[in-house]
Symmetry: C2
């Protein structure tokens, strides 16, 4: 009799029919004797239409009240789900952020979970109920409603699994699991049976949309076994677990790309102490997330500084940087939105030399120029021209033998 | 500097434009120095579409979960309202049932308010905020969400006004106030400037849809001065206050009708002790609300018993009664849905003899047959054929001199 936390995303509960299907699936588990805590997102499209409603009033809706508004999305889906479960003869209670209770800090729109209470859930589980928890929402210390930001329901599920010491946390989504590459690009892409938390973190931060990165961090911290799988297909998905020896046999687990980045370069920056702070402090303060940063060796006291931001932050950052460049006496600010980041990820890299040079060789053979490189212990990322994204992904996928076809060899 | 509780109904907040208008109106009060607690209903149509959604799953949705679903309606309107107020430069916080907090019993769908906390509202008022409270909702002692039933937002407003010892509770609605008769039927109907709680109770229970009856009971119990007025027109509405000498000058305040009743008669009931209990206990237990009950004098140990129920309960009650009639050995069960109840109301009746006979005379002159009569200290109700409703209303309105035209005489 396992205690399982399941999370179903917005497309999985996107209609009354789909909500009923989820209810049936959850009940199957109960019939096997498992105890279920089910975390739901808002029905697909719901969150966007609520935001649209608020924008009819003002372009900058108050963040506290926007969270109150947003939280209704999950409230609707958990109550409908519980109605469905009860109509099928099983007992079920929905619980909202304040009832569970999920305590967060007070940063509206992207609050972080501080503490999850388990008393009420455990008591209701003991009363033989299925528990439907509204994802994405919590309360701060003054009982104000907060939301965790996009992808927040994943975090709700993992945090609950950690607090409840659940045997398993299953994330049901619209894909079958984590793939060795985007199956839309690589026809031979293979579903990975198991990957480590570290690899999943890299996948998530490098652009794979399967799991919210905070939820993976949470899972890693509390050793919550994650199972990422499809809501619509019954096959097994991908287990995300602690690293083990078996995993290290493969050099590379997958190839990931991200077309949502843009590159900015400031040329001839006077190279003196504190200059990086002067440049990046206003950028960070404007809420811009900077990804890769590369600084060339200084020549005659002047250096070029290049970094990447998301395309949505591009225009604002360019504008900000032009002011900064004037202040610090740099030459000019250049920008390029036609770039993509292609990365290879794998815990095996730790024990295999030459993975990076192999990657460069593959790209070179395809005549793809690399304009920036960033590495960590278990990943290598290259910035290339956007138009080569698919070609690079396929070439790397094949060269590192990741596909189904290669398996058969 | 008055503390005012205002309530705006579903049609008053039925669109983004209307929500903005309400925000502007509330801000006008603030500019005059008043402190405002604003109770809102769900946007018109919202509640019905949520119910419809749940009915797509099952015809008998779980009541606990239905309340969780319903409560999102008011959550949406208070957050949008607060967004509107803040966008106009005034501070505003929305508060939900669990935040205020409004404590109720655990009867989902028609919970009764037990206690209203005021700490948080008073603190937020001291911080110079407008407070937007979600009407219609509360929490039980286990923090489950409950709703107060149709018209519940009126009760929320009055309960808050009582707990906060507010100077005034204003109910903004889609009519201009309480009228001496339905203006759709009587062109001369007059808006009443002041009526007593008792009269308002009779008006509400006799079919006038202006105010929820529980809210009037609450207002009377705690002497909360009520002002019923239009959301769309700036003129004064009707003040509902404690009875005073001035009011008693008028014999009758208004004429009310209700077409939503149906009549049921059981003939030749053996007249013995306990028979009324035997008949009505199963009816009450089925949740049927019985209005008027008339029992004829017994002839040869047999009596006829007649009573009225709402049209929606008619079929079910007939079915139930047929079984009961068999059990107790009564003759048969007759039903009639083509009836209406016409009533005259006024605290002045206490001091004026002959009001009832005057009413019977007026109806008789119009050739309208009276099939049942029920009286209280301040009202007289007659059951007549439904098709005479408008005629009876107009005739009584004129005979008792209630209209604008008569005033001029």
């Amino acid at each position: 009799m396992a205690l399982i936390v399941q999370k179903y995303g917005g497309t999985s509960v996107g209609s009354i029919e789909k909500i009923k299907k989820v209810a049936e699936r959850v009940i199957e588990y109960c019939k096997k004797g498992d105890r279920l805590v089910v975390v739901l997102s808002a029905m697909a499209g719901q969150t966007d239409s609520l935001i649209k409603l608020s924008k009819e009033i003002t372009d900058t809706p108050d963040t506290r009240e926007l969270d109150v508004l947003m939280a209704t999305g999950e409230q609707v889906s958990v109550s409908l789900f519980a109605i469905a479960v009860k109509s099928m003869g099983y007992d079920c209670h929905s619980l909202l952020g304040f009832q569970t209770a999920i305590h967060t800090d007070q940063i509206y729109g992207k609050a972080r979970i501080r503490k999850v209470e388990t008393d009420r859930i455990l008591r209701e589980l003991d009363e033989n109920r299925i528990i439907a928890v509204a994802g994405f929402q919590g309360i701060d210390e003054r009982k104000n409603i907060t939301t965790l930001g996009r992808g927040g329901s994943d975090t709700t599920a993992v945090a609950l699994a950690a607090a409840l010491k659940a045997d398993l946390c299953e994330i049901f989504t619209d894909v079958e699991g984590v793939f060795s590459a985007d199956p839309n690009i690589c026809t031979h892409a293979r579903k990975l049976d198991r990957i480590s938390y570290e690899e999943m973190l890299e996948f998530a931060s490098l652009g794979a949309k399967v799991l919210d990165i905070r939820s993976v961090e949470f899972a890693k911290k509390f050793s919550v076994p994650l199972h990422v799988r499809s809501s619509f297909i019954r096959s097994e998905g991908t287990m995300v677990v602690a690293e083990n020896r078996e995993m290290e046999k493969a050099m590379v687990s997958g190839v990931v790309y991200d077309k949502n980045e843009a590159r900015i370069t400031i040329t001839k920056v006077p190279d003196r102490p504190g200059i990086a702070f002067k440049i990046f402090d206003p950028v960070f303060k404007a809420g811009v997330v900077v990804d890769m940063i590369v600084q060339n060796t200084s020549v005659e006291g002047l250096t070029d500084l290049t970094f990447t931001v998301t395309k949505t932050d591009f225009q604002e950052t360019i504008k900000l940087l032009k002011e900064i460049a004037r202040e610090i006496g740099a030459e000019k600010v250049l920008g390029d939105q036609n770039i993509a980041k292609v990365s290879i990820v794998g815990v095996g890299m730790r024990n295999h030399a030459g993975v990076a040079s192999r990657m460069f060789e593959v790209l070179s053979k395809e005549n793809i120029n690399i304009s920036m490189i960033s590495t960590s212990e278990i990943k290598i990322s290259c910035i290339i021209e956007e138009k080569y994204t698919e070609l690079a992904t396929r070439a790397l996928h094949e060269a590192f033998g990741l596909g189904n076809e290669n398996e058969k060899k």
